[in-house]
């Protein structure tokens, strides 16, 4: 073996590195100094240093570095992972720059967070100059060897990329693993599913591999076969319980197939392993909210905001979501001290979003609407009405009026402030407007169906489940009682109302006409005026109406 691996200094051809420019970022002066001296010892003449994340971003604006050694912990409120994401987003990195995250931490949440941001290299402290030299040399060799392929990848030129990857693998090149993974991405992007499957299966015959199983799962998702994807992902996670992106994809598949509770439990697992990821916490906030789990939704909303501040992920949505979640859950908190703390947190979030997006008028409108909803949830109707008035005025002054994507928020605020008729009118017209995106339509329709808190929704959902079970056992009287209890929590829910009607009809079919049940059915129909022909329960509503009119002397 070459003894030069022992000696970083003498093994390096100084001339190779002399023209390079490097940046060292570390919160500690002595660490910065020693890493800087190591780099200088390798022949790099130009080495800048900084202590903060902001310092790294500013330095990268001023100079195009070849090497950046950045510690995870930095002075200020950005860590190394957030800095890397931001540099990429702002395209402040040269394509062949080597970004190394350095860290003395071995806690899983930090290590996983770093890995998920995919730096070129991860170096754990302590390390010697010899190791640094070896890693850098390897990175430069790799980036030289893969330069052309990486350029194709960045430009989405998949055909030449595939050709070069295949050739490299055939030659048993050193970067064969990289080429195989890249091939999976390229086949997926170009829908060459047969080639993808062949590659992954061939690899899997040799050994268990997370990326090959993941490739197959992504392929099934692309083909719309979500159940197959779920099966593969479950197998993958049994073999590789720390393959974090598999959790995210599995949760998405479960969510899309309506298994929201399973999706939440998978996200819980993912967050236990790697909690420092903004999009994961945000996904959790949405899924748990849909499940009516306000405690989890609140916690996830808090984390989402915390991870977003000072990063490229910062989004006014996160502030608004947190305020809404606090409004919904503050009543369920027992300790008065904790309640007080939450209320002040909501106030802070409102102030912050106003400050941080001060130049964005649409955000100002959203903030004021959120303020109104918040007051309404606390029973402060006068303040709610006042904030709503302000928001209306601000919206009127906006160029082009209220932005389309804020109509749902606006409608909800009207509803909560007691202007229910106007709210219904606005949201219904949104649902029937052909220009509205499916996503917004769904949001408006969902709100019209259930304009109640997340916990009331969850309560209704659970009672509805009980009712359906009773119905399946032909215990109609019990079922009716359960559906009615559910309706007390969520009166406008179409499925629930129709379940009540259908069960009542079944009971009368057995026991004969009962005026009380007829009256209750008529009330239920009356609660479903908002169900339009586009609604997924519309057909069922019409057929039940028809049945009712045919068999009983009622007019509908």
């Amino acid at each position: 073996m070459d003894r030069s691996i022992f000696q970083g200094k003498s093994s390096q051809k100084t001339s190779n590195y002399s023209g390079l420019q490097a940046l060292v970022a570390d919160e500690f002066e002595n660490s910065r100094q020693s890493i800087r001296q190591m780099l200088q010892g390798l022949g790099i003449e130009h080495v800048d240093q900084t202590a903060s994340g902001k310092g790294v971003i500013d330095s990268c604006r001023a100079r195009r570095y070849d090497i950046i050694l950045c510690d995870f912990r930095l002075v200020g409120n950005k860590n190394g992972q957030q800095v890397l994401e931001e540099l990429r987003e702002l395209t402040l990195l040269k394509p062949n720059a080597v970004f190394v995250i350095v860290s003395a931490e071995t806690s899983r949440d930090v290590v996983m967070g770093i890995m998920e941001s995919q730096p070129d290299e991860y170096l754990s402290k302590p390390f010697t100059q010899a190791v640094l030299a070896r890693r850098l040399e390897r990175q430069f060799q790799q980036s030289k060897a893969l330069a052309e392929m990486k350029e194709h990848l960045a430009k989405e030129q998949y055909e030449p990329l595939i050709q070069q990857c295949v050739a490299h693998i055939k030659d048993e090149g050193r970067y064969t693993p990289w080429c195989k993974r890249t091939l999976v991405d390229a086949y997926l992007a170009t829908h060459q599913f047969e080639s993808l499957e062949q590659l992954c299966q061939q690899e899997l015959a040799e050994r268990d591999l997370d990326w090959a199983l993941f490739g197959l799962a992504r392929m099934e998702v692309a083909r719309g076969r979500l159940d197959d994807a779920i099966t593969i992902l479950e197998k993958l996670l049994r073999l590789f319980p720390q393959m974090i992106s598999a959790y995210d994809l599995l949760a998405q598949c479960l969510e899309r197939t309506g298994k929201l509770e399973d999706a939440q439990s998978i996200l819980e697992d993912a967050i236990r392993i790697s909690p420092r990821i903004h999009k994961r916490q945000k996904h959790m906030a949405n899924v748990s909210k849909a499940n009516g789990d306000v405690t989890t939704a609140l916690k996830a909303s808090q984390q989402t905001l915390r991870l977003g501040v000072n990063s490229i992920h910062e989004d006014p949505d996160d502030y608004i979501q947190l305020v809404d979640m606090i409004a919904e859950s503050v009543d369920t908190v027992e300790s008065s001290q904790e309640r007080k703390r939450l209320l002040s947190e909501a106030g802070q979030a409102l102030t912050m979003v106003g400050k941080r997006f001060a130049s964005d008028d649409a955000v100002k409108v959203r903030k004021t609407l959120a303020e109104s909803r918040f007051h309404a949830s606390q029973g402060q109707q006068k303040e709610a009405a006042k904030a709503l008035e302000n928001a209306k005025q601000m919206a009127a002054e906006l160029e082009g009026g209220l932005p389309h994507d804020l109509v749902v928020e606006y409608g909800k605020t009207l509803y909560n402030a007691g202007e229910t008729e106007q709210a219904e009118a606005i949201l219904s017209s949104l649902v029937s407007d052909a220009n509205t995106s499916e996503h917004l339509k769904q949001q408006a329709a969902d709100f019209l169906d259930e304009p109640v808190s997340a916990s009331a929704k969850a309560q209704a959902k659970a009672l509805n489940k009980d009712g359906l079970l009773s119905y399946s056992k032909q215990e109609y009287v019990a079922a009716i009682k359960q559906f009615k209890e559910a309706l007390a929590a969520s009166p406008r829910h179409p499925g629930l109302n129709l379940n009540l009607i259908q069960t009542s009809l079944k009971l009368m079919e057995k026991q004969g006409e009962q005026p009380q049940l007829i009256a209750e059915c008529m009330d239920a129909f009356a609660r479903l005026k908002h169900v339009s022909p586009a609604h997924k329960q519309y057909k069922r509503l019409m057929s039940l109406k028809e049945y009712m009119v045919k068999h009983y002397s009622v007019t509908l």
């Binding site: 003395a104 071995t106 996983m112 010697t128 591999l209 720390q242």
Partner: protein
Amino acid sequence: MTLDEKQLLFKDVIGASVKDMRNSLGQVLYKLEEAPEFTGQNQQASDALAEAQYEVIRIENVVNQLHGLYLLENDSLAVQRQETYLYELVEDVVANMGSLLQAKQIDFSIKGEDICWYVDPYLLSCVLQITLLNAIRYTKDRIAVSLSAHENGTMISVIDNGQGYPDSVLESFQALVAGEAVRHISSQNTSWLYCERIAALHVNQGKQGYTRLSNDGATGGGRIDIFLP
């Protein structure tokens, strides 16, 4: 505060302390590497530096192993396997203790092909560091690492040319990997426990990794085998 939250907090305390120690160790290691420039050719000084370096790497190693075992117990050790060139990985570990091997005048060699294998490179580095430190402690003047294919897996063997292990040590190693209670906890057996646990995290098609301690037939010195499926 619930018990769970207390444990969580303690985990953070340990994490933060380990981070501090590793930062400091980085500084000490760096100063020791730099020191020969100031001491010149003074033999006594360089012997003292080599000893200090050996001890610092040992501390680093114990910190890794302590934190690693703690995280394993709590089911919160990060395990990220990836295709890794093993020859290169061994060289990396050796490079981190290069001046130590030089100062102790130990002849070091690696045999075998540069196999690309599916392992967690960080965790395996810690294991290799443990086995190499052990070999440095007991060898006369030679350490050899060999990489070879073995039953659909890869075997990494670290062999020294010292006196070899007495039977009692080999027996206690056997008991340890068999999961029997350890009578005398020592830094030696906790480090072997760590190696065994890390090897066992490497599973492929139903096969699990393991470690084995013996005396080498050729050199008569100690030999540790790490099998990775």
